[in-house]
Structures are given as C-alpha cells and as structure tokens.
C-alpha cells in the first residue's frame, strides 16, 4: 500500500459523490434523497480541503469554501425538512411519486 496523498482523497470523494448520485437516482423517499444530497455536498467539501492542503497549503480559499458550503447545506436541509413535513401533513406520504401536486 502506498503513502496516502491527494489522489487517495480524490478517489474517496469521487466515490462518495457517485454513491450520493446513485442514491439520488434510485431512492423515491424525500428524506433519503436529502441524505444523498448531503453525501454529495460532503464529497465536494472533502475535495476542497484536499486541494487546499496538497496544492495551495499557504492559502485558505478551499477552507473558506468548505465553511460556506457547510453553512449553505445547513440552511438547505432546514428548508427541505420544513417542506417535507408540510408535504406529509397535507399528503400523509413523502414519496415523490405521490407528491405531484407540487407541479401545479
């Protein structure tokens, strides 16, 4: 086994990103789709931190992007869960196949 470096972390974050995409494509429950989105956002964060550490260690731009992405992800999760709970209240289901009244 090799000494882990940038490429190992890029492998992990790519794998996590596509795991999240797979979950997003196959799940039909809104909460599990939200979890897949969290996985995707986390893989992007890992990417930013890895580039910050291995390519530009004297700068901190990747770190700040990660902090802002985490803040946006928190806001997004809160709004999404508010919408999901409201949908459940009206619909008694959070399956996307039953949520077609969002269209109108």
């Amino acid at each position: 086994m090799m000494e882990p470096g940038l490429y190992h972390i890029l492998f992990i974050s790519t794998a996590l990103f596509f795991i999240g995409v797979f979950g997003f494509l196959t799940r039909r429950n809104l909460i599990t789709m939200l979890m897949s989105i969290e996985l995707i956002l986390n893989s992007v964060n890992l990417n930013f931190i890895a580039f910050n550490k291995y390519v530009w260690p004297e700068k901190m731009d990747g770190l700040f992007f990660t902090i802002f992405i985490i803040a946006i992800a928190a806001a997004e999760a809160a709004v999404a869960i508010a919408i999901i709970i409201n949908l459940y209240r009206n619909n008694q289901s959070i399956d996307v196949n039953n949520a077609e009244e969002l269209k109108y």
Partner: protein
Amino acid sequence: MMNGYTILFYLLAALTLSCGIMSIATRHIFRAAIYLLFTLIGIAGLYFWLSYEFIAAVQIVVYVGGIVVLIIFSIFLTQQAGEKLTRQKLDRKIWAALAIFCGFALTMVQVLHYQFPLSNNPATVTVRRIGEKMMSMEAGGYALPFEIISMLLLAAMVGCIVIATRSKPEVK
C-alpha cells in the same frame, strides 16, 4: 512501510465508504440515517487526519449535531415504525449503476491523468488566521461572503417558519 498514519487513513476511508454505501443500500430509513451519521463522522476523521481541526470540529457540530439530528426527527415525524422503503424496479437500479459507473470511471481517468502542481509546504491553519481572513475587507478577504451567508441563514430561518406554520384548512 505501514505506519500508524497510513493505517489510520485506510481505516477512515473504509469507514466512510462502507457506511456511505450502506446508507443508500439499506431499506430501513432509520438505519440509513445512522449510517449517514457514521459517514459524516468518518469524513470529520479525515479532516482531522489532514490536520484541519477547525473544519473537523465544524463538521461534527453542524452535520453530526445538527443536520443528522434534524433528519432523524423528521423520520420520527413522517414514518411509521418498522415500515420498509419500497423496493425499486430492477431496471432503474441497473441504469443508475451503469450511469454512475461510467461517471466514476471517466472522473477517475481524468483525475489520474492530470498532474496537480503539488506543494510540500506544511499547511498552517490556525483559528486565528481563519478569523482574521473571514473578517478582512482587503483583497482576498471573506467579509462580503460572510455577510451574504448570514443574510441567507436569516432568510432560510424565516422561510422555514413560514412554510412549517400550519395554515388554516381551506374550504374546497
């Protein structure tokens, strides 16, 4: 050859990836949330491993302490106990697996062929430097994005309250 640093990396990577896979493969939604929790803890461990302690702490506080708890609460509010998620059609799974395999292969080929300008300087990230940069209004400072994020959080908070307030039932 194999020192503790390397072993720790592979352990964290295995934890993150296996829990990530389980989180989208399991049919119990509560278990999916718990596996997501361990994935996020694994990522926080990777930040510690990269010696970005501040980001690791933020990850644990915001994701593990905030978002996963929020997700678990919403599972409690919306799911019946013991209910399994509906099984998906096989062809949809096959097409999705094919798509992500192609995407993964394409991305990894591109990444492995690209020569990143690696630098060997040690990263010096202290909380003091982060705070100074965050509030700095000079070129390269992050005061404006910081203000915009605070407006976004305020808007999200107001939006959540408006959405989640129970409206009076309309006469149909």
